[in-house]
Each structure stands twice: as structure tokens, then as C-alpha cells.
Symmetry: C2
């Protein structure tokens, strides 16, 4: 999905919500455990309940890999379902990969290649290994790199805020700055945690037009209003992710209904926030 | 495998060689392509030909993931074979993972858990997301984190050498320094590329006793002698990886024989280099 199509989808659904499919079998309702295709069936119910309010889905690979080869099969079923739906969605592999050039090419093939098993639209990438570890992910038409810049966790403070002695910039700003030469606003987005919303101004100074994928709203404590105030652009420029707050809103019989309600609530807030600028 | 066992194995085989199982179906001999379990059969032949000269194997996950779910099955067959061998080997998942705490836990379960499908001894981890992204991988008895410090690729120069305005240290030194508090010399190693052998002295200043996993000898241009001169400790402290130089030494009928020869050559050099210190 290219940028134009993504922005159209955001305007059409009046939402910039991304639903994190961090499907943990220890947390899903009882009835999905120990049954055939349980993780996929849970995902399908969540997707059906939320797709009118969301523009994107983001399965975190760790949750599927921890189920072994069977978990990857459940992920593939989920991707097949998303691709077969009449309703569009932008799907991000939250994989945080990155390796030397020829190896990153293999990861890109695994997740982004339209002929491959998954065919994601985008993939999260860790920047530590630099240019040749990132560029191979920009080589598929209409596919995106989502580069880690400023993450939402506590460990973000360990290295990401380190100041460069030469430029005075912090590491996440150096990552933003340098990576602008590796792609375009059409194929590169950045992860910026909602828990650091006040730093969104600093981020926007370096990448005024880039899409940002913002985790950390909800369970991790970030505020949607703050994120929008500092991050929204005239064609939106934001995808805000909520995982636990939606998919585990309830673990009873009403889990899908409650997930839908939480997504609708966020969509409503997003619609308000976009009025006058994006809409 | 704990540190004592690893050092014993190194002394017994008189080698600190790690063979990178970067199994690319476009590069393996013709007879393995398009046949059932081709990647595994190739790996098995390589392992049989090299195990007397190597102490470790390192499959890079990207090459298996790029073959889809079937690739992961080939990796599992390879792990089952390594676990079932009469001869010991230390096996590293070259996965370069790392995510927020609860997610890293899932990755650790996927690759390190002895009850899991793979049961690796160690796993490469990217440090960008800091402490809570790394610590979950140190929680399995006898299992190791191999943290990226100074990688062997060109992109290593993009961020890893950035100097901290406060301490004057470079990012890779800050990573080494800070991560020492996250584990011990019994469960944390570091990736330091052989292409930057002259910086091994700087690395050893911060982590004098830690094991280092050193890629980049051979195809990438690093020198084994240089690595040993700057990196060897009295209980070795090194695992030097060669991938392409061994597994693709030939792509003819003699591929396994040639892989064995290359591994034996490196083992012979390693034995010489360890004499008087480790042996």
C-alpha cells in the first residue's frame, strides 16, 4: 500500500488506529486455548470486530515465534484472512529485524515479498547496524520500513538519548537525520513511543512529513491527545497503535465486542483530532 | 552449555571456530535444490564434515525465514540433528532480536527454552532498545545473550562509533559498559567484527573476560591472526565465525570435503594461536 492509498484509507475510516495483534495464548479467552487454529480464530474475531475503526494491524512476530512453527502457520492464516477481506488494511510485521546487507535482503524477502508467505505492507527495523542493514527493506514497491527511533519502553533511555559529541544531537535524532537519505517519505516511517510525546516536536523538526508509528497509548500510559497535538500533519502522518488495551479489553465471552468498543472509542477520538486538519 | 563446558570444548577440539549455517538455496550445490529437506541435508553434510574442527554453529535465521514456514522446519531438523549428535556443539541463533520486556520474553522462549522447538544455547540480540529488551534472554540457565557491540558491516560506522558528549566514549563502548550490569561473563557475549580488529583492544579494555563472537573473518576480509592477537584471553574468550568461506568453499560434488578442509585449516591456525596461553 503506497502513501496515497494509506492517507485515503485514513480519511475514509476517519481513523489512524493500528491494532496490535500480540496474541498471547495465556491471555486470550479460554475457548481459544488448546484448540486447532486458536490463535488465528482469536485474531479473526478481533479483526472482524475492529476493522471498521482501524486502518492497520500489527502482529508482533515474537508472540507467533514463541509458539514455534505452528505459530507461524497461525500468522500466515491471519495474513491470508486480512488479504482476503473485502476491507483494506495496512499490515505491519513488528519484527524489529536488521542484519548485514545480504542477510537483511533475506528478511525482506521473508516478510515483504508479494510472492512470499506473508506479504506484509511494512516491517519494523532496528537501526543499530546502519545503512546496509536498512536499505534492502526499501526495495519492494509500495512496501515500507518502519525504523525504530525512540521506543516506548524504559530501556529507550539507555542509548537512544545519548548525545553526539560532534553535533550535539541525541542518538534518535541522528538515526532520523541519517536515515532520511536511505529512503523517502513514501517508504520509510519511524517508531516513536507515545510515552515520550513531548519529544515528538523534536522528531517532527527532523522528519516533518514522515509517517510515525506510535506505540504506547493505553496500557503503556501514553496520551492520544498529546500524540496528536505534537505529531499530526495535514495528511495525518500518524499510525497510533494499541495492543493490550483492545485485544485484552475482556477475556470473557464479550472479548470481541469489548475490543470493538475500545477501537470505536479511539476512532471517535481520532476523528475529532483530525477535524480541521486532515478531514 | 555453560562457560566451563564451552572452554573445555575449545581445549578439547583445539579450536574456537564457529561455522555459520547461512544456508541459501541459491548457493548450495544443485542436488539440494527443490528436493525434500534440501536445506537440512546440506546442513547435515556440512556439520558432519566440520564438527571435528569446530566448537560452534550459527544458523542465521534470515536464511530460514526467507523460505517461509518450511524453512523453519528445516532449521528444526538441523537443531534436532545437532542435539542428537554424539559430539557436542554450542549453537547460536543469529536472530538479532530485541523488543520491549514482555515481548523479548516471548523471543527468548521461542529460541532458548529447552522445552521449545529449537533449544539454542545462545542468541544474538540488538541493543538499541536497552536493558529491558536484553535481560529476558539471560533468564535461562546455561544460555547466553550475544549482544551486538561493533558489527562487521559498513553500516557499523553510521551509529556505533558515535561519541557520547558526556563520557567521550563511543556508542559500542557505552553498550559494552552499560550491559555489563545486565548479565555476567557466564551468560553474556558480544559481537565484535573481525573487520575492526584494531578496535578489539578498546573492547577488551571494557570487557576483559567476556567471550566475543567475531564474524567477518574470510569473505568479509578480517584476519584471524589480528583477532587472536587483540582478543584472545587465557581461557580463549573468542568464537570466530566463518560462513561463506566454509559452507560455499565449493558448490560441486566436493562441497563437503572442501568445507571440511577449510574448517581444518582454520582449526590448525587456531591451535597454533592458542598454544602457550589457552592450551
Amino acid at each position: 500500500m503506497n502513501r496515497k492509498e494509506l492517507v485515503e484509507l485514513i480519511r475514509e475510516r476517519r481513523s489512524f488506529l493500528c491494532v496490535g495483534l500480540d496474541t498471547d495464548m495465556a491471555k486470550v479467552p479460554e475457548k481459544f486455548r488448546g484448540v486447532k487454529d486458536g490463535a488465528f480464530e482469536f485474531n479473526r474475531a478481533i479483526i472482524d470486530a475492529t476493522i471498521d475503526y482501524a486502518v492497520a494491524y500489527k502482529p508482533n512476530l515474537a508472540f507467533y515465534e514463541s509458539m514455534g512453527i505452528e505459530g507461524l502457520r497461525q500468522l500466515k492464516l491471519t495474513m491470508d484472512y486480512l488479504h482476503g477481506l473485502g476491507k483494506k488494511a495496512f499490515v505491519i510485521a513488528d519484527a524489529k529485524r536488521g542484519d548485514i546487507g545480504n542477510t537483511s535482503q533475506q528478511y525482506a524477502k521473508a516478510f515483504l515479498d508479494p510472492e512470499g508467505e506473508f506479504g506484509f505492507d511494512a516491517m519494523t527495523i532496528a537501526p543499530y547496524m546502519g545503512e546496509d542493514s536498512v536499505v534492502p527493506f526499501t526495495k519492494y514497491e509500495g512496501k515500507w520500513v518502519v525504523l525504530l527511533a525512540l521506543t516506548s519502553n524504559k530501556g529507550a533511555f539507555d542509548f537512544q538519548l545519548m548525545r553526539d559529541a560532534e553535533s550535539g544531537k541525541r542518538l534518535f535524532e541522528v538515526v532520523l537525520e541519517r536515515s532520511k537519505a536511505w529512503g523517502t517519505v513514501e517508504n520509510m516511517m519511524y517508531v516513536v513511543g507515545a510515552t515520550k510525546a513531548e519529544m515528538l516536536d523534536d522528531v517532527r523538526r527532523v522528519v516533518p512529513d514522515s509517517f510515525l508509528l506510535v506505540p504506547g497509548v493505553g496500557a503503556q500510559g501514553g496520551s492520544l491527545e498529546e500524540v496528536a497535538r505534537h505529531g499530526l500533519t495535514k495528511d495525518c502522518g500518524l499510525l497510533v497503535n494499541s495492543s493490550r488495551g483492545i485485544i485484552y479489553a475482556s477475556n470473557g465471552e464479550d472479548f470481541a465486542e469489548r475490543a470493538g468498543e475500545e477501537a470505536r472509542k479511539l476512532q471517535g477520538q481520532m476523528e475529532e483530532l483530525m477535524k480541521g486538519t486532515v478531514l
